[in-house]
């Protein structure tokens, strides 16, 4: 079985995000990037499938900030092949990224494509679903469980309230992974360094085929942070006393 996992770097949301002077993009100079957390889950699920069924796991990413390191980290986790798609430009829209990936993936052996369910910056939609439609294959997103038998995947899709629907999907298919069956594995830096020496990244030219998001960004702005919250100041004990007061005011008898 051939499993392709697509991964992407996103701004680390724990860091401060600054809007550029144009008001239409983030100031990227100081942005800290990290792998989209759902891609970590997609890779983990692929590696679990490899361990149980045997599979070749190929990790694919569009060229971008620190992408080599992310690919080598995947290799250190036992991904078999690394592919970097070049020539697409910085910060492509989901439609452009999906079209470029579809072009490359259609020339690769592939039974299952796992993407992260979404990323924090995909204004024009989730790439997995777009990719599936460009490839003309079925898809399920918000997936929390995958098993494969023969030419069919049995997948669990999550709805609100933790309700799960089980589907059977004929392969090849795209699945948008929300959570892997287990917490994504960790690899020490030494193993990543080792992978940097041992593994190679295949570079393939990508083509967005003229698609675009179809709308343009007119403005970026921060929601008024703290607009609603009355901030409590002081030493921890003072803050604690205030919080206890608020809780009592709400009629909680403590």
């Amino acid at each position: 079985m051939n499993i392709i996992v697509s991964i992407k770097q996103v701004p680390d949301l724990v860091e401060e995000l600054e809007i550029a002077a144009s008001g239409k993009e983030l100031n990227r100079e100081w942005l800290k990037y990290k792998i989209n957390e759902f891609d970590d889950h997609a890779l983990e699920e692929a590696l679990c499938l490899k361990e149980t069924l045997g599979a070749t796991v190929t990790v694919i990413a569009l060229d971008g900030e620190d992408i080599d390191k992310v690919l080598f980290t995947a290799a250190a986790k036992e991904a078999d092949k690394l592919v970097k798609v070049t020539g697409v430009g910085d910060n492509p829209s989901s439609h452009e990224a999906a079209k470029a990936l579809a072009g490359v993936i259609s020339g690769m052996p592939c039974d299952l494509i796992l993407t992260g369910v979404q990323a924090a910056d995909d204004r024009d939609g989730q790439l997995g679903v777009l990719l599936a439609h460009y490839l003309g294959v079925p898809h399920v997103s918000v997936v929390t469980g995958v098993s494969v038998a023969g030419n069919t995947a049995t997948v669990h899709k999550e709805y609100g309230g933790g309700v799960i629907a089980e589907f059977e999907v004929s392969l090849p298919a795209v699945l948008g992974i929300q959570a892997a069956r287990q917490t994504p594995r960790y690899v020490p830096v030494a193993r990543v360094r080792q992978a940097m020496r041992a593994a190679t990244i295949d570079e393939v030219g990508g083509n967005t085929g003229g698609v675009s998001a179809g709308t343009s960004i007119s403005r970026m702005f921060k929601p008024e942070s703290g607009a609603g919250a009355q901030m409590l100041e002081g030493a921890p004990a003072d803050i604690a006393a205030k919080i206890v007061g608020i809780i009592r005011e709400k009629g909680i008898k403590v």
Binding site: P11, L13, L17, I19, H95, R123, D124, G125, Q126, V129, L130, H133, Y134, V137, P138, H139, V140, S141, V142, H156, K157, Y159, G160, G161, G162, V163, I164, A165, E166, F167, E168, V169, S170, G176, T183, G214, T215, S216, S218, R219, M220, P223, E224, S225, G226, A227, G228, A229, M231, L232, P236, A237, I239, A240, A241, V244, I246, I247, K250, I252
Partner: protein, 313 residues
């Protein structure tokens, strides 16, 4: 401009997000001199259609393949039905099911998509991105556009009731070659506590760092006579059962007091706790989105302030 609302329903009942979209759609159709059209896919959908009377026109399609949501069957039907409605704007829920539809429709019909929208005008849509830290407004070009609407963005009441719209049935497309088959639906196992029935919830997020530290927040929940709830990553790490998860894919809760401890307040978390009477947030990041909608907040370290609250009771 005709506004098309793709109705979302679950377990034979129309979801609130549908009414939110109908209410907003009515306003937009009115402002642009268009018609509000609801599209409903279901099995024996006619009875459900009666709930969508806020629309001027209801188009429904019946098929046994729609008895449960199926990304492929629903997508195929919408791609066949929507173009005939002269759409200006197509509103789809930004939900688990809606996510499977909006982007597919965008490719199939060659129509742009703006996702995660929490504000819409005739010429713009605003996406809530970066975990709720930045809003991005898109200018909409002429021609049809698909907008995926975040639940909780608009008033549901505005989309309820209504008049006597034209109701018409359309035939389902050929489903003989579907590659996606629905098997079964599974409810989460009921847990030891029902977090939807508590007056006080101490809800913990990734800021707690590790499983052992949960004892700190559990101690506070016990002292307050409430229960421990959490954000999604805590459940994904299997530190707490699914029944404790609050949010889009977890439970919706409305306690008197919701103490959010080390939770950033991502839109998917907000969806589950926005109706709490009093939200108190403890988060070291002054820019955390949670402070935008909490009633009280502190940027003190949870490891200092949580034990201090426990001690103060």
């Amino acid at each position: 401009m005709n506004i098309i609302v793709i109705a979302e329903h679950f377990k034979n009942s129309i979801e609130d997000i549908t009414f939110e979209m109908l209410g907003k759609g009515k306003e937009l159709a009115g402002a642009t001199g268009g018609q509000l059209i609801a599209v409903l896919l279901g099995n024996d959908a006619k009875a459900l259609a009666d709930n969508l009377r806020a629309a001027a026109r209801i188009v429904y399609c019946d098929s046994p393949h729609f008895a449960e949501f199926n990304p492929e069957a629903y997508g195929k039907a919408l791609a066949a039905i929507v173009p005939g409605l002269s759409p200006g704007m197509i509103l789809v829920a930004n939900t688990s099911a809606g996510m499977d539809l909006a982007a597919g429709l965008s490719v199939d019909l060659g129509i742009p998509l703006v996702a995660y929208a929490n504000a819409i005008t005739a010429g713009s849509a605003t996406s809530q991105l970066y975990g709720g830290k930045v809003n991005v407004e898109s200018a909409l070009a002429a021609g049809p556009v698909i907008i995926a609407v975040l639940p909780g963005s608009f008033a549901a009441d505005a989309g309820k009731g209504g008049g006597a719209p034209a109701v018409e049935a359309v035939a389902a497309p050929d489903f003989s070659s579907l590659k996606t088959r629905f098997n079964k639906r599974m409810e989460p196992e009921s847990g030891d506590v029902d977090i939807t029935q508590q007056d006080v919830l101490v809800s913990v997020g990734r800021g707690i760092q590790n499983e052992e530290n949960l004892a700190i927040v559990q101690a506070l929940a016990d002292k307050l006579g409430g229960a421990l709830a959490s954000s999604r990553p805590i459940v994904d790490n299997k530190w707490l059962p699914k029944t404790r998860q609050v949010g889009k894919s977890g439970l919706k809760v409305k306690p008197k007091v919701y103490l959010a401890v080390g939770i950033s307040g991502a839109p998917e978390h907000w969806e589950g706790m926005k109706d709490a009477e009093c939200i108190i947030a403890i988060n070291v990041d002054p820019k955390a989105p949670i402070f935008g909608f909490a009633h009280y907040g502190t940027t003190a370290d949870l490891f200092d302030v949580v034990p201090a609250i426990t001690a103060a009771i």
